[in-house]
């Protein structure tokens, strides 16, 4: 087995061990979307009427509509949290261990990204299992078909998080940056309302939602859960992943904080 692969396995194992050791993190990741599903959706259900638009072929409940968006919410929050762990590693010194491993730095960064995406996807599946217990189910094959969509969206959002973390000099600043990204990205998307509903309120809002790559990630998951594919969503998400990853690799100088404090 070559070094690149063993490094990937080692980093994924470490992130998984850390994740399973932090039960509160799993709980927090589930509570957020569950509040939306059980509390907000119950209220919005009466207020919002949903027409039959792809991928739907019949009327669905609002709870069913927001499940893909809430999966996206999990991926979004965890993507940002994974990049926060990168900043933490830099602050705590464990980043030095990574950087002195005989593996290219771009690959180490990619390993961190993949490990974060694996954890995101695991959380999304736990959420889907809870949804099933609540009565929101999909065809068994949909759960398998959703995997690539969930994983690609998780990678795209994780890459965005790493790109953002490369601009942050201090851990304290990162929380602020996350808030400025997470909330607009989530609310200005199709996660909570369909785009035609947005257009009824404002065409500009709809256009903003359309250029938001998170919208395309959520739609990709939504279509996959109904065993359908919209290639535009895949293309936009892939392009966004390439751009964010490029920015992350270009902007990320992991030694920056390790060394600057010595100056």
């Amino acid at each position: 087995m070559n070094n690149a692969l063993t490094a990937l396995i080692a980093i994924c194992q470490r992130e998984l061990l850390r994740f399973f050791g932090q039960r509160a993190r799993m709980l927090a990741a589930l509570v957020r979307p569950l509040i939306w599903l059980l509390v907000f959706a119950a209220g919005f259900r009466a207020a919002l009427g949903l027409s039959i638009t792809p991928p739907y072929e019949t009327y669905i409940t609002y709870e069913s509509y927001i499940v893909p968006g809430l999966c996206g919410m999990i991926l979004l929050f965890n993507g940002m949290q994974s990049s926060l762990s990168l900043v933490m590693d830099r602050e705590m010194g464990t980043m030095r261990l990574l950087l002195t491993a005989p593996v290219p730095r771009w690959w180490l960064l990619s390993c961190k990204l993949i490990a974060g995406a694996v954890i995101s996807v695991l959380q999304a599946y736990v959420f889907l299992a809870v949804c099933a217990m609540y009565g929101i189910t999909f065809a068994p094959v949909s759960y398998i078909l959703a995997l690539p969509a969930l994983f690609l969206t998780a990678l795209m959002l994780g890459a965005l998080g790493i790109a953002l973390s490369s601009t942050v000099k201090q851990l304290e600043n990162f929380a602020g940056v996350m808030n400025f990204v997470i909330f607009p990205m989530f609310f200005l998307s199709s996660a909570l309302y369909p785009l035609w509903k947005m257009a009824e309120a404002s065409a500009l809002l709809r256009d903003i939602c359309l250029v938001n790559p998170f919208t395309h990630g959520v739609e990709m998951i939504r279509f996959a859960l109904y065993q359908k594919v919209d290639w535009i969503n895949w293309a936009v998400t892939l392009v966004a992943l390439a751009v964010f990853l490029g920015l992350a690799l270009w902007g990320y100088n992991p030694a920056k904080r390790l060394i600057s404090r010595k100056v």
């Binding site: 063993t6 030095r96 390790l258």
Partner: protein, 236 residues
Amino acid sequence: MGLSVEHISHDWGKKRALDDVSFHVAYGEFCALLGPNGAGKSTLFALLTGLVSPRQGRIEIAGSDIATAPRAALSRMGVVFQQQTLDLDLTVWRNMLYFAGLHGIVGKAARVASQEALERLGMVERAKERARDLNGGHRRRLEIARALMHQPEVLLLDEPTVGLDAASRKSLTDHVHSLAQDTKLSVLWATHLTDEVYAGDRLVVLHRGAVLENGYAQETSSDLTDRFLSLTGEAA
């Protein structure tokens, strides 16, 4: 030659941190890099470990240039940084396996290498403890065990005894001295404490980024302290 540093200079902005630093450490040699705070030791370590690329000069680790063949150089090097690099949430054993994976050692080979490295440093009975629960001395031992797991030819330690009590400090210093002798490892031990330098050690005195002395320590610790103070005092 285990470690070869030739004409290394480095600037942080307009401030010169290292000025034409050269020295060598042969296999089996313990080299004490002695310098007061701010002498440039940590900058030199950043260059030696490839965290920063040297702009002037050349560094070779077991024959591999850190600038042109970083992966070969890093695979032959073990490092213990001044700042701890353990994952405190993982057990001792998991910290070892994580490092093994980063260095391409997996499966049975990783388990055997971890076991042997922990045995060498007397840490086997602590394998199941979380790194967070270890005291400072044991954390350092674990870091040294980890740094030796992939059987490096060069071991770099940046002020490894910081924060340790006198007994732990002595035990660690003794242990690394005997490691160099027994395993023919090249050791570079950065410190500002003269009692960690033993007679017969190679001694490089660094002050304000320049090498003031490069030879062998012959004196007792108290004589060395006087000479170190006079050297760095004169240079200041």
